[in-house]
Symmetry: C2
Subunit: 200 residues, 2 copies
């Protein structure tokens, strides 16, 4: 088994480099551009080597998804113990690199069974962790969990953050300032450090 798991992509194993190269191409040019030739060139290997490590291109895509999923889950678990999990949740989903890749996988999953199954499993695990973190935050703030179901609050935060990123990527920014300000107020109201004076 090769040592040095934590090296830079340049000197990592070919398999790892292929996964990272595929993620990069998907982010920059869309999943349709992530062909075996294109990702091999990006990783500095020849096209046929892709099929030594991955039976089909879909298998490679699934591995890219898994790698990103594991990284995301690590981040989320850290957010759970944070002192302001709601803001952390917002910030994580404001990362363009992450959201761009997520969008590509949503599009891919719409039409590829194997990827759909993997994405579903991952999305639900992430949502469970997010919901747990939000539950703690709302409870600390004395907010009625019946009125504000943690799973709904966490979905709202995540999806609005992502949609701002997605729109930004295509140059749409109308209303974004107002939306960000509005969300900052909500994040503070629902999860700020203050005690239990939730509604004003």
């Amino acid at each position: 088994m090769p040592r040095a798991e934590k090296t830079k992509p340049a000197e990592a194993g070919a398999r790892q480099r292929l996964i990272e190269a595929t993620a990069k191409v998907m982010r920059d040019e869309g999943y349709a551009a992530a062909t075996s030739r294109r990702v091999a060139a990006e990783a500095g290997v020849k096209q046929a080597l892709v099929y030594y490590y991955f039976p089909t291109m879909d298998d490679l895509f699934v591995e890219v998804l898994r790698a990103g999923a594991e990284a995301s889950l690590q981040n989320m678990r850290a957010a759970l113990t944070d002192d302001d999990p709601l803001t952390t949740l917002w910030q994580i989903n404001t990362d363009l690199r992450r959201t761009a890749l997520n969008t590509e996988f949503m599009a891919l999953a719409n039409h590829r069974k194997a990827i759909r199954a993997e994405l579903k499993a991952y999305a639900e695990r992430v949502r469970d962790i997010e919901t747990a973190a939000v539950t703690v935050a709302l409870r600390a703030k004395g907010i009625d969990l019946e009125d504000y179901p943690p799973v709904a609050v966490s979905m709202l935060i995540v999806q609005i953050a992502r949609s701002l990123c997605n729109e930004n990527a295509v140059g749409v920014t109308l209303g974004h300032d107002e939306m960000r300000t509005f969300m900052e107020r909500l994040l503070d109201l629902w999860g700020g450090q203050g005690g239990d004076r939730p509604q004003r």
Copy 2:
């Protein structure tokens, strides 16, 4: 000029049939599947005819986007005069056919300049109309427009509705019931028929 603008796709002109066929293929199989051969077959014509009507495939995509945009704008203008515009806004963006196509165009726009420009222009026109409708509704309800900027409220409604559809399409439904209930409450609070008792 040919008569009978309002006929069914089957007997409409080839150009119109190609536009509708392309929309269908994009919805069902993703933009990557919308090749000249595929859409021509769907429209019942030969592949080369696509290039008689559209210089490139991107030009065809832009026409599909325009057609959908005009239809959407019509719907939105109707929502403006509705007695519950917020719920109407929610319902329009809960239509799977519309949101699926929208998602494909967002993905396309991420990597195709011509489509990005067209999508941006359309998205901002739609948002203006939505914001106008929401402004009227919030004002009628006596809600402070400083605390609840109409553009933010309309973005929130639209984006959450769409994200439920998008997740549904890939089989993710965890938390959806809670989210829908939560949004129903918000829609009623912000735009229900009741007078001006906004916060409880």
